[in-house]
């Protein structure tokens, strides 16, 4: 039969058999190729997804840390500025409640109570103000940032240059809060750690983009150590920028101050 197949008359038939075999092999290799490519693509997709998840976990973790630190700070503030002073009030009120005190003494305690409650009121207003500045809610981001800088200017310790032209409603209310917190954090870093004397700030919105530039002339910091120092709140800033879907750029080195730019598109 083999000889028959290779006979001249059956040459065509022979070719047909070979061609069928080739087609069969081809179709099987296509299927195998598909199978292996699919596996590889699946693998890379999985790796990507894992990367995203671990990044989200990191954000989540540092969010919790910042939250806890914030709570600690609030607790400290409440304790220092309110509870301890209320103790004084309560003590003085105790004296007032006694029957055998003279009117001079009563006046003295009364005045003391008045003085302390005034400071308590001022402190509680300040704490509330720091937690959520009413200006931001009432008059918007531009006014809130301006207020922030004016307060700093009033201390007369810093040279301040700022320009804010923010078109209202460019960001949603909670995103505005994130941006405000970023500015707040940057400022507190400049004051607390960097010992800066000159602060410049620029915020402008165009039709579809927002640009923020923050600059101080403080001590600066090595970019490699910046990640390790949790207290600087840099992770918080990074997370907030990530939530805003923005691009963060930090340019700093020891003794050269810091320049932070944030760009985001609507």
């Amino acid at each position: 039969m083999v000889e028959e197949l290779f006979g001249t008359e059956n040459q065509i038939v022979n070719i047909i058999f070979i061609a069928i075999t080739i087609l069969l092999v081809m179709s099987i290799s296509i299927v195998l190729f598909f199978y292996f490519s699919r596996n590889r693509i699946k693998k890379t997709q999985l790796e990507k997804a894992n990367l995203v998840i671990s990044h989200q976990k990191e954000i989540f973790r540092s969010t919790i840390i910042t939250q806890e630190e914030e709570r600690k700070r609030i607790a400290q503030d409440l304790h220092d500025a309110i509870s301890s002073k209320l103790n004084i009030v309560s003590l003085n009120a105790n004296f007032l409640a006694k029957e055998d005190i003279t009117s001079t003494e009563a006046n003295k305690f009364g005045n003391s109570i008045l003085k302390v409650t005034t400071t308590i009121l001022e402190s509680s207003r300040k704490i509330a103000h720091e937690l959520l500045p009413p200006t931001l809610q009432k008059f918007g981001l531009e006014a809130a940032i301006e207020e922030l800088y004016e307060e700093l200017y009033d201390t007369q310790k810093y040279k301040i240059k700022y320009s804010v032209s923010y078109s209202e409603k460019f960001l949603s209310a909670d995103h505005e809060l994130h941006l405000f917190r970023i500015v707040q954090e940057l400022m507190s870093n400049s004051i607390k750690y960097a010992e800066a004397t000159t602060l410049t700030f620029l915020l402008e919105t165009k039709k579809n983009s927002l640009y923020l530039q923050y600059n101080d002339d403080g001590k600066g910091i090595d970019l490699n150590t910046i990640q390790k120092i949790k207290g600087l709140g840099m992770i918080g800033i990074e997370n907030r920028v990530a939530i805003l879907n923005g691009k963060l750029n930090i340019d700093t080195s020891p003794n050269n101050g810091i320049t932070v730019t944030i760009e985001l598109d609507r």
Binding site: I16, F17, I20, S27, I41
Partner: protein
């Protein structure tokens, strides 16, 4: 060997009537692509049955059935892939090919009693191209009918030549056993295809999914 192949032949015939029933069972609860595929299976089963009927009753040549087989396969699988791939142009190509084949028959009505190699090649290879496109689409995401797609690609591509050389039986120079051999190869490939169709049903549709 011949007895074994006869057995496989019988298996494919009965099998082709059996698994459409499985697909019909899940007909209502599934999407359009599934429905087109089920209609395709039922159609093929009817053609198979008529084929056997004509052979058994010796009514004459059953070659004309091949035209129904190819055209209906092409139309139904085109609709199936148009649904899976979401490409509207597949319907356009289908119309174009149908017009072409009609012209062929008007031009030469005697074609009805022979095989139509050009028609077979064009329709089978178009379906193979759709199957390849579907593979490409399925690379990155989970897709339905992958096992059936493997079967369609492998069976239609490897059997294209068998059907296209069908007219060899009219060639007196070619001994009869050659076309018989081609038929045997086709039967084996077809059984493999049927198995894949069954596996698809078994893996993805045998248990009613809770949505």
């Amino acid at each position: 060997m011949d007895g074994f192949l006869d057995l496989i032949r019988d298996i494919t015939i009965y099998f082709s009537m059996f698994y459409p029933l499985l697909y019909i069972k899940s007909f209502v609860s599934n999407n359009k692509a599934f429905k087109f595929f089920t209609i395709y299976l039922v159609t093929i089963a009817i053609i198979q049955f008529s084929l056997v009927f004509i052979v058994k009753t010796q009514l004459g040549s059953n070659i004309f059935l091949s035209h129904f087989y190819f055209m209906l396969q092409f139309v139904l699988l085109s609709l199936f892939y148009a649904e899976l791939l979401k490409f509207k142009w597949i319907i356009g190509v289908m119309g174009f090919v149908l017009i072409g084949v009609t012209c062929q028959f008007i031009d030469d009505p005697s074609l009805f009693y022979r095989y139509n190699p050009t028609g077979f090649m064009v329709t089978q290879l178009l379906i193979v191209i759709y199957a390849l496109l579907y593979f490409y689409k399925a690379l990155s995401k989970k897709s339905a009918f992958l096992i059936v797609n493997i079967g369609i690609l492998f069976y239609l591509l490897s059997s294209a030549l068998i059907f296209a050389s069908g007219n060899l039986i009219f060639d007196v120079k070619i001994p009869e056993y050659v076309s018989a051999k081609l038929g045997d190869i086709n039967i084996v490939l077809y059984l493999a295809f049927q198995c894949l169709i069954f596996v698809e049903w078994w893996k993805n549709y045998s248990v009613l999914k809770i949505k």
